[in-house]
Protein backbone atom coordinates (compact mmCIF):
# COMPACT_ATOMS: atom_id res chain seq x y z
CA UNK A 1 0.00 0.00 0.00
CA UNK A 2 1.33 3.40 -0.98
CA UNK A 3 2.26 5.68 1.90
CA UNK A 4 0.47 8.50 0.10
CA UNK A 5 -2.76 6.51 -0.11
CA UNK A 6 -2.36 5.33 3.48
CA UNK A 7 -1.96 8.91 4.67
CA UNK A 8 -5.21 10.00 3.01
CA UNK A 9 -7.11 6.88 4.09
CA UNK A 10 -5.94 7.23 7.68
CA UNK A 11 -7.03 10.88 7.80
CA UNK A 12 -10.52 10.00 6.60
CA UNK A 13 -10.95 6.63 8.28
CA UNK A 14 -8.58 6.41 11.26
CA UNK A 15 -7.60 2.81 11.96
CA UNK A 16 -8.11 3.24 15.70
CA UNK A 17 -10.90 5.75 15.93
CA UNK A 18 -14.32 6.73 14.60
CA UNK A 19 -14.58 7.56 10.92
CA UNK A 20 -14.15 11.21 10.13
CA UNK A 21 -15.80 11.03 6.73
CA UNK A 22 -19.32 9.99 5.75
CA UNK A 23 -18.54 10.39 2.04
CA UNK A 24 -15.76 11.59 -0.25
CA UNK A 25 -15.88 12.12 -4.01
CA UNK A 26 -13.60 13.69 -6.61
CA UNK A 27 -13.91 15.86 -9.71
CA UNK A 28 -11.32 14.60 -12.24
CA UNK A 29 -8.71 16.84 -13.77
CA UNK A 30 -7.58 17.33 -17.32
CA UNK A 31 -5.11 14.44 -17.52
CA UNK A 32 -6.23 11.37 -19.48
CA UNK A 33 -5.04 9.11 -16.71
CA UNK A 34 -4.26 9.49 -13.04
CA UNK A 35 -3.02 7.14 -10.38
CA UNK A 36 -4.74 6.37 -7.11
CA UNK A 37 -1.75 7.83 -5.28
CA UNK A 38 -1.92 11.09 -7.23
CA UNK A 39 -5.60 11.51 -6.38
CA UNK A 40 -5.05 10.65 -2.72
CA UNK A 41 -2.22 13.17 -2.60
CA UNK A 42 -4.47 15.94 -3.95
CA UNK A 43 -6.95 15.25 -1.15
CA UNK A 44 -4.20 15.35 1.47
CA UNK A 45 -2.74 18.61 0.16
CA UNK A 46 -6.14 20.34 0.05
CA UNK A 47 -7.03 18.95 3.45
CA UNK A 48 -3.84 20.38 4.96
CA UNK A 49 -4.65 23.79 3.44
CA UNK A 50 -8.16 23.73 4.91
CA UNK A 51 -7.08 22.52 8.36
CA UNK A 52 -4.25 25.05 8.57
CA UNK A 53 -6.53 27.92 7.61
CA UNK A 54 -4.83 28.55 4.28
CA UNK A 55 -7.85 27.80 2.12
CA UNK A 56 -10.15 30.76 1.68
CA UNK A 57 -13.79 30.18 2.41
CA UNK A 58 -15.78 31.04 -0.70
CA UNK A 59 -18.66 33.21 0.52
CA UNK A 60 -20.25 33.62 -2.90
CA UNK A 61 -19.49 30.81 -5.30
CA UNK A 62 -21.34 32.62 -8.07
CA UNK A 63 -19.12 35.72 -7.85
CA UNK A 64 -16.90 36.64 -10.79
CA UNK A 65 -13.82 36.64 -8.57
CA UNK A 66 -13.32 34.89 -5.26
CA UNK A 67 -10.59 35.63 -2.70
Amino acid sequence: MSTTIDHAANALFPPNGPNRAANIKFYPGTARSVTAAQLADQFSRADAQVRQGQAELIADIDAEVVP
Binding site: N23, P28, V34, L39, D47
Partner: protein
Protein backbone atom coordinates in the same frame (compact mmCIF):
# COMPACT_ATOMS: atom_id res chain seq x y z
CA UNK B 1 -33.01 41.55 -20.68
CA UNK B 2 -31.24 38.20 -20.32
CA UNK B 3 -32.77 35.77 -17.86
CA UNK B 4 -30.59 35.35 -14.82
CA UNK B 5 -28.67 32.09 -14.55
CA UNK B 6 -29.39 29.62 -11.76
CA UNK B 7 -27.42 30.72 -8.72
CA UNK B 8 -25.63 28.01 -6.79
CA UNK B 9 -25.25 30.02 -3.59
CA UNK B 10 -28.96 30.15 -2.87
CA UNK B 11 -29.38 26.53 -3.87
CA UNK B 12 -26.74 25.43 -1.38
CA UNK B 13 -28.59 27.27 1.38
CA UNK B 14 -31.90 25.66 0.50
CA UNK B 15 -30.37 22.20 0.20
CA UNK B 16 -28.64 22.38 3.57
CA UNK B 17 -31.83 23.62 5.24
CA UNK B 18 -34.02 20.88 3.81
CA UNK B 19 -35.22 18.52 6.52
CA UNK B 20 -34.19 15.52 4.47
CA UNK B 21 -30.66 16.79 3.90
CA UNK B 22 -28.08 14.71 5.71
CA UNK B 23 -25.64 17.62 6.03
CA UNK B 24 -26.15 20.69 8.19
CA UNK B 25 -23.82 23.05 6.40
CA UNK B 26 -22.15 23.31 3.00
CA UNK B 27 -18.80 25.08 2.79
CA UNK B 28 -16.86 25.89 -0.37
CA UNK B 29 -13.09 26.32 -0.03
CA UNK B 30 -10.61 27.64 -2.61
CA UNK B 31 -7.53 25.41 -2.55
CA UNK B 32 -4.39 24.91 -4.58
CA UNK B 33 -4.62 21.70 -6.57
CA UNK B 34 -2.89 20.20 -9.57
CA UNK B 35 -5.68 20.67 -12.15
CA UNK B 36 -4.27 17.87 -14.28
CA UNK B 37 -5.10 15.45 -11.46
CA UNK B 38 -8.25 16.92 -9.94
CA UNK B 39 -10.34 20.10 -10.08
CA UNK B 40 -11.85 19.51 -6.67
CA UNK B 41 -13.39 17.11 -4.20
CA UNK B 42 -15.84 17.03 -1.36
CA UNK B 43 -15.74 15.48 2.07
CA UNK B 44 -18.84 15.01 4.18
CA UNK B 45 -17.53 14.98 7.69
CA UNK B 46 -18.87 15.08 11.16
CA UNK B 47 -18.30 18.32 13.02
CA UNK B 48 -16.93 17.30 16.38
CA UNK B 49 -16.80 20.91 17.57
CA UNK B 50 -20.41 21.61 16.76
CA UNK B 51 -22.43 23.49 19.36
CA UNK B 52 -25.34 21.24 18.58
CA UNK B 53 -25.80 18.18 20.78
CA UNK B 54 -26.75 16.01 17.83
CA UNK B 55 -24.14 14.90 15.35
CA UNK B 56 -23.71 17.65 12.78
CA UNK B 57 -22.34 16.96 9.33
CA UNK B 58 -20.55 19.44 7.13
CA UNK B 59 -20.06 19.15 3.38
CA UNK B 60 -16.57 20.57 2.79
CA UNK B 61 -16.25 21.16 -0.94
CA UNK B 62 -12.70 22.03 -2.08
CA UNK B 63 -12.31 23.67 -5.48
CA UNK B 64 -9.11 24.57 -7.36
CA UNK B 65 -8.62 28.28 -6.79
CA UNK B 66 -7.59 29.10 -10.35
CA UNK B 67 -10.84 27.96 -11.98
CA UNK B 68 -12.97 30.65 -13.60
CA UNK B 69 -16.49 31.30 -12.34
CA UNK B 70 -18.18 28.90 -14.74
CA UNK B 71 -15.95 25.98 -13.86
CA UNK B 72 -16.01 26.84 -10.14
CA UNK B 73 -19.82 26.75 -10.18
CA UNK B 74 -19.99 23.48 -12.08
CA UNK B 75 -17.40 21.67 -9.96
CA UNK B 76 -19.04 23.00 -6.80
CA UNK B 77 -22.47 21.94 -7.95
CA UNK B 78 -21.36 18.46 -9.03
CA UNK B 79 -19.75 17.86 -5.65
CA UNK B 80 -22.83 19.22 -3.90
CA UNK B 81 -24.98 16.70 -5.72
CA UNK B 82 -23.24 13.92 -3.81
CA UNK B 83 -25.34 14.99 -0.84
CA UNK B 84 -27.97 12.85 -2.52
CA UNK B 85 -25.77 9.74 -2.84
CA UNK B 86 -27.46 6.56 -1.65
CA UNK B 87 -25.95 4.51 1.15
CA UNK B 88 -24.21 2.17 -1.27
CA UNK B 89 -22.88 5.12 -3.27
CA UNK B 90 -21.32 6.85 -0.29
CA UNK B 91 -17.61 6.32 0.35
CA UNK B 92 -17.96 5.85 4.09
CA UNK B 93 -15.28 3.27 4.76
CA UNK B 94 -11.60 2.72 4.10
CA UNK B 95 -12.31 -0.18 1.74
CA UNK B 96 -14.74 1.89 -0.35
CA UNK B 97 -12.24 4.76 -0.46
CA UNK B 98 -9.48 2.47 -1.75
CA UNK B 99 -11.92 0.99 -4.26
CA UNK B 100 -12.89 4.44 -5.57
CA UNK B 101 -9.26 5.49 -5.96
CA UNK B 102 -8.50 2.26 -7.80
CA UNK B 103 -11.40 2.83 -10.21
CA UNK B 104 -10.22 6.33 -11.08
CA UNK B 105 -6.91 4.71 -12.00
CA UNK B 106 -8.22 1.61 -13.78
CA UNK B 107 -11.33 3.09 -15.46
CA UNK B 108 -13.55 -0.03 -15.35
CA UNK B 109 -16.26 -0.89 -17.85
CA UNK B 110 -19.68 0.58 -17.02
CA UNK B 111 -21.10 -2.79 -15.94
CA UNK B 112 -18.16 -3.33 -13.58
CA UNK B 113 -18.26 0.07 -11.90
CA UNK B 114 -18.96 0.21 -8.19
CA UNK B 115 -21.97 2.30 -7.08
CA UNK B 116 -19.48 4.81 -5.66
CA UNK B 117 -17.71 5.31 -8.98
CA UNK B 118 -20.96 5.31 -10.98
CA UNK B 119 -22.27 8.13 -8.85
CA UNK B 120 -19.37 10.31 -10.00
CA UNK B 121 -20.75 10.42 -13.53
CA UNK B 122 -24.35 10.72 -12.36
CA UNK B 123 -23.54 13.70 -10.19
CA UNK B 124 -22.18 15.48 -13.26
CA UNK B 125 -25.49 15.03 -15.07
CA UNK B 126 -27.39 16.15 -11.96
CA UNK B 127 -25.27 19.29 -11.79
CA UNK B 128 -25.97 20.00 -15.44
CA UNK B 129 -29.71 19.57 -14.90
CA UNK B 130 -29.68 21.77 -11.80
CA UNK B 131 -27.65 24.62 -13.31
CA UNK B 132 -29.38 24.35 -16.69
CA UNK B 133 -33.00 23.37 -16.05
CA UNK B 134 -35.18 22.53 -19.03
CA UNK B 135 -36.70 26.02 -19.28
CA UNK B 136 -33.26 27.58 -19.75
CA UNK B 137 -31.99 24.78 -21.94
CA UNK B 138 -34.99 25.04 -24.25
CA UNK B 139 -34.61 28.80 -24.40
CA UNK B 140 -31.26 28.40 -26.11
CA UNK B 141 -31.80 25.07 -27.92
CA UNK B 142 -32.99 26.49 -31.24
CA UNK B 143 -30.27 29.14 -31.28
CA UNK B 144 -27.74 26.34 -30.74
CA UNK B 145 -29.23 24.29 -33.57
CA UNK B 146 -29.36 27.30 -35.90
CA UNK B 147 -25.87 28.31 -34.83
CA UNK B 148 -27.15 31.82 -34.26
CA UNK B 149 -25.50 31.55 -30.86
CA UNK B 150 -22.14 29.94 -30.24
CA UNK B 151 -21.59 27.42 -27.47
CA UNK B 152 -19.41 30.01 -25.76
CA UNK B 153 -22.24 32.57 -25.79
CA UNK B 154 -24.71 30.05 -24.37
CA UNK B 155 -22.24 28.91 -21.70
CA UNK B 156 -21.60 32.54 -20.76
CA UNK B 157 -25.33 33.22 -20.39
CA UNK B 158 -25.81 30.13 -18.23
CA UNK B 159 -22.53 30.61 -16.30
CA UNK B 160 -21.42 27.05 -17.01
CA UNK B 161 -18.28 25.71 -18.71
CA UNK B 162 -18.35 25.77 -22.50
CA UNK B 163 -17.54 22.01 -22.83
CA UNK B 164 -20.82 21.02 -21.14
CA UNK B 165 -23.04 22.74 -23.70
CA UNK B 166 -22.82 19.83 -26.16
CA UNK B 167 -24.12 17.45 -23.49
CA UNK B 168 -26.79 19.94 -22.47
CA UNK B 169 -28.09 20.30 -26.01
CA UNK B 170 -27.75 16.62 -26.92
CA UNK B 171 -30.78 14.45 -27.60
CA UNK B 172 -29.59 12.26 -24.71
CA UNK B 173 -30.07 15.05 -22.12
CA UNK B 174 -33.78 14.36 -21.62
CA UNK B 175 -33.16 10.62 -21.38
CA UNK B 176 -30.50 11.21 -18.73
CA UNK B 177 -32.90 13.34 -16.71
CA UNK B 178 -35.58 10.68 -16.93
CA UNK B 179 -33.13 8.02 -15.76
CA UNK B 180 -32.03 10.13 -12.79
CA UNK B 181 -35.58 11.05 -11.81
CA UNK B 182 -36.73 7.44 -11.97
CA UNK B 183 -33.73 6.10 -10.11
CA UNK B 184 -34.96 4.26 -7.02
CA UNK B 185 -33.85 5.61 -3.68
CA UNK B 186 -31.29 3.14 -2.42
CA UNK B 187 -31.47 4.19 1.23
Amino acid sequence: MAEEPVLLKGMATHVSMAASCPVGEIKFHAVSLDPAISLGHMVFERDRDSAYEEEFSIASIRIHRDLNRCWRRFVGCKEMMHIFDSLEERVDSRDKFLKLLDEFESKPLAQDMSPMFSSEGEAGWRALAVLCPMRLRNKYLQSWRDKTMTEYEIALALRVPEPVIKSLMSEYFEAALTTLLNKPNGD
